[in-house]
């Protein structure tokens, strides 16, 4: 009897220690890894996964597994096309990849390093439109073509948000759907089709209807929920999640439209990156088996993803609500993706010819604390963006009409420089970045206010404007001065920031929250952070 009591006490103690460890380690940002966006569980057995951000919604399901097996899963989120480019590189710092669609995995895995790839779930890329607006546009209760959507966009009745087509699968899929429609629905897009001037005009007009962009799909959904927008292009599962949130808030839900001649499917492939560690491989296979088990597949289906082989089960039909326009029984018949080389060409043209030109204001910290390594990293990162040959490798090259403004600052604004287009002007900016000397205090607000006043000189509806702030320390100056200038401008310009050195995250987050933007962590990899910001523009 006594022994039993002691035993159960011990078990209880053990359980509480374990749960304490789990609880504390479940907070984002904790754990050993500096670079992961989310650390799930805590253990010395670690599985590092690079994934499309839409899978952030599956974290609770992953958490269960990590707990069961006593392992740690580190999730890093990026757009699927960024994952493709990562796979093309020499080193892959992850044990597994989980992009939105297998097309990017296959195109990136030229060195055959990814194994055991299996699709975890399916979700189509669809339009979600404020329900009243969808009704007004006549999109409710009938089949809608991409052409119908284009007509609404062209007449100015529909504006929407989509992810960057050169970084994220949902944006790329929607964009390819637009190309088909504008080309009159050929069986497949060819290189010759892309050369038409008419296409250029029409596509530009169409993409001018894009309100906001982002580098990955889940971020787009979050941004959408923070802002006041009419519509977005995203995965069916994220529409469901957005609607659940909108309904909770008592707001108007989105109505889901499946364009019959422009549909594409994300098949969410999870693959293992073979680096010769048998233990990791075993852990990976266990995770994959778990995700594909009936139980997990059912939970995944409850997040609005289509899983399993037999369609949506009876018990989960309540998730796919028909009053939100969802069609659980629809035969999802997607368009054909163009051949790989044509697809690359499509993506390049999106970046340089089609997308709304970006108007980016870079406010860069040249205070004394940046001296040495900090400044060196900054110069390197800007080299990747501004020198076009480098930028092209990541589909970040400038377009003919884009504007880049550089505002170096310390305790006050040092100077301002403006470069238009993709030619020598933008490359000259790099010289300025390189030669500027460091010294003095830090007041990022002054630089941001200067940026806002420079934006006044542009017709912002013709651009995707953004202020990108890099700072490495506690800033002086006043947030109130900033908000005053922001209200004066009267436009929704996001102020992104890149955290560096000893930057004060609360100050940066305050700016991001106020302007519906994001804070990026540049402490691990500054170049990567700048690339991510570019995806929003």
């Amino acid at each position: 009897m006594e022994m039993k009591a002691v035993k159960s006490m011990a078990v209880l103690l053990l359980v509480s220690i374990i749960s304490l460890v789990l609880l504390t380690s479940c907070r984002p940002g904790s754990g050993q890894s500096d670079s992961a966006d989310r650390v799930i569980g805590s253990s010395s057995s670690v599985l590092r996964i690079i994934s499309g951000s839409e899978n952030a919604e599956l974290e609770p399901i992953l958490e269960k597994f990590a707990e069961q097996e006593g392992i740690e899963i580190q999730m890093s989120y990026q757009g699927s096309l960024d994952i493709m480019r990562l796979l093309e590189g020499e080193e892959i710092d992850y044990d597994a990849v989980w992009p939105a669609s297998s097309i990017w995995l296959t195109m990136g895995d030229t060195k055959h390093r990814v194994q055991h790839t299996e699709s975890v779930s399916i979700s189509p890329v669809v339009f979600g439109i404020r329900k009243n607006l969808a009704e007004e546009l006549g999109f409710v209760g009938r089949e809608v073509s991409v052409g119908d959507l284009l007509a609404a966009i062209q007449s100015g009745k529909l504006r929407f948000c989509m992810t960057s087509a050169t970084q994220s699968n949902s944006g790329a899929s929607a964009y390819i759907g637009f190309l088909y429609a504008l080309l009159g629905n050929p069986e497949v897009i060819t290189s010759e089709d892309l050369q038409s001037e008419e296409l250029k005009t029409q596509m530009r007009e169409l993409l001018s209807g894009v309100d906001r962009s982002s580098g990955s799909s889940d971020w787009l959904k979050d941004m959408f929920l923070e802002g006041n927008y009419d519509a977005m292009v995203n995965y069916e599962c994220l529409m469901i999640q957005a609607n659940e949130e909108l309904e909770q808030r008592g707001e108007e839900p989105l109505y889901v439209v499946y364009p019959y001649d422009g549909l594409s499917l994300a098949d969410s492939p999870l693959g293992y990156v073979d680096q010769g560690d048998d233990k990791k491989e075993e852990m990976f296979l266990k995770l994959q088996e778990y995700l594909l088990s009936d139980e997990a597949q059912n939970e995944i289906q409850r997040t609005g993803r289509r899983s399993g082989y037999t369609g949506i089960s009876e018990e989960n039909r309540d998730v796919f609500r028909t009053d939100w326009g969802l069609q659980p029984d629809r035969v999802l018949s997607p368009i054909r993706m163009p051949a790989a080389d044509v697809l690359q060409e499509c993506l390049n043209m999106y970046q340089t010819d089609f997308k709304k030109p970006s108007l980016s204001v870079y406010c860069l910290d040249y205070s004394g604390s940046m001296e040495g390594e900090g400044n060196e990293q900054l110069v390197n990162a800007m080299e990747q963006l501004l020198i076009q040959e480098n930028a092209r490798q990541n589909y970040l090259q400038a377009s003919e009409d884009e504007v880049n403004i550089l505002i170096p600052f310390s305790g006050s604004v040092i100077d301002t420089y403006t470069a238009v287009g993709a030619g020598s002007e933008i490359e000259n900016l790099y010289d300025t970045v390189r030669k500027q000397e460091v010294g003095g205090g830090t007041d990022m607000y002054k630089a941001a206010i200067q940026g806002l006043s420079m934006l006044k000189e542009y017709d912002l509806s013709q651009y995707t404007p953004a202020i990108i702030l890099l700072t490495d320390g506690q800033s002086g100056g006043s947030f109130e001065d900033f908000t005053q200038a922001y209200e004066e401008l009267g436009a929704k310009v996001p102020v992104f920031s890149i955290m560096f050195g000893d930057a004060d995250e609360t100050q940066l987050q305050q700016l991001a929250d106020y302007t519906n933007a994001r804070v990026f962590d540049g402490r691990e990899n500054l170049t990567e952070a700048f690339r991510s910001v570019r995806g929003y523009n």
Binding site: I189, T190, S333
Partner: protein, 351 residues
């Protein structure tokens, strides 16, 4: 207390004995061989029973990277002991590029088939493109090709729920075997007999047009099959694959198979072509894989659990254990693949 100590003593003895046994029996070292393998054979190589035979009888473990059959010939082969593509064309291409391999042997066979859903199979039957004989679906390649070339839409053949024109989804014929063999099969059909160097040139533009319309193509046979099963009828209404793929899936996932078997249909093209999985040893170490794969029990498992027809080209007597209806007991309508030089022209034209 005493019994506890005694128990510990026994435990210690057992541990020491086990360690000693492991030490002595481990003297026969296990060799690891490494190579490129077509995706459709991974199930076989991952089979624990097969691995056990390899390890215990042949003292062999196999490390592999997945690669398309055509792709692997031009891949970096340093550190690899073998290639295991899915056709003889790959072997011929290898010989052209690197000369005679140390050893090579056909170890498994499976015919190229088409996979589709019941509704599509019925629509094709109604059009006279497919027919059922003794519960087995056959598809007339000449009629199917004609249907594809005349740009008929799925709606035209009675399937308005499907977007686009009738086509057969395949892997990239310049990279992967099932697509490559299907291209060979189409070339034969367009030539009205086995395509050769004298006849192939005239039909190349037609072949190009058929494949060009497919747009992006998968590079692995196992990926396209996985997608066929998971993305449903809309995404992949009709694909080319290997007979072994479905048989293996049915054995490995009996519960899932039970749920979907009414809807999945395997169509045998008339005529079809054999995919002969040939093992190419790149060095002496690699040759050990041939003996192991030709082991009687491995060959039996290859059929029973993974659906590969072995030895002779016909099915062993028992097709019942798969629980798959519509398996042809014998594959009689077979044409040879075009020879390597002809296939090379085809690959070039489709690149």
């Amino acid at each position: 207390m005493k019994t506890k100590l005694a128990g510990l003593g026994i435990l210690a003895i057992v541990i020491i004995a086990a360690a000693a046994y492991a030490l002595f029996s481990g003297r026969q070292t296990v060799t690891e061989i490494s190579g490129f393998v077509g995706g459709e054979k991974i199930g076989l190589l991952e089979d624990e029973e097969v691995q056990q035979i390899f390890e215990q009888k042949y003292h062999l473990t196999i490390d592999y990277a997945r690669a398309g059959s055509i792709d692997m010939i031009s891949a970096d082969l340093t550190g690899r002991n073998f290639l295991f593509p899915s056709n003889q064309t790959a072997l011929e291409l290898y010989e052209q590029a690197h000369g005679e391999p140390v050893q090579s042997e056909i170890v498994l066979n499976t015919p190229i088939v088409l996979y589709t859903r019941k509704a599509v199979a019925d629509a094709l039957a109604a059009e006279g493109i497919a027919a059922i004989t003794d519960d087995v679906y056959y598809v007339d390649m000449a009629k199917l090709t004609e249907c594809i070339e005349s740009d008929r839409s799925w709606a035209d053949v009675g399937l308005p729920q499907l977007y686009g024109n009738v086509s057969v989804g395949t892997t990239d014929p310049t990279k992967s075997n099932s697509g490559n063999m299907f291209a060979g099969l189409l070339a034969n059909t367009l030539c009205g007999g086995v395509a050769d160097e004298s006849t192939v040139d005239t039909i190349l533009p037609r072949l190009q047009s058929i494949f060009q319309k497919l747009g992006y193509m998968e590079s692995s046979s196992s990926d396209i099959f996985d997608q066929f099963l998971k993305t449903g009828m809309g995404a992949k209404p009709l694909i080319a694959g290997y007979e072994s793929q479905l048989l293996e899936f049915a054995v490995e996932n009996p519960d899932t198979w039970e749920q979907v078997k009414e809807d999945i249909v395997m169509l045998y093209p008339t005529p079809t072509v054999w995919s002969s999985h040939v093992y190419i040893a790149l060095d002496e170490t690699g040759t050990a894989g041939i003996d192991a794969l030709l082991d009687e029990d491995v060959q039996r498992l290859a059929w029973e659990k993974h659906g590969f027809r072995t030895g002779l080209y016909d099915a062993p007597a028992d097709v019942g254990h798969f629980g798959v209806t519509g398996i042809a007991e014998e594959i009689t309508q077979v044409a040879p693949m075009p020879d390597a030089l002809t296939m090379e022209r085809i690959i070039e034209a489709l690149s």
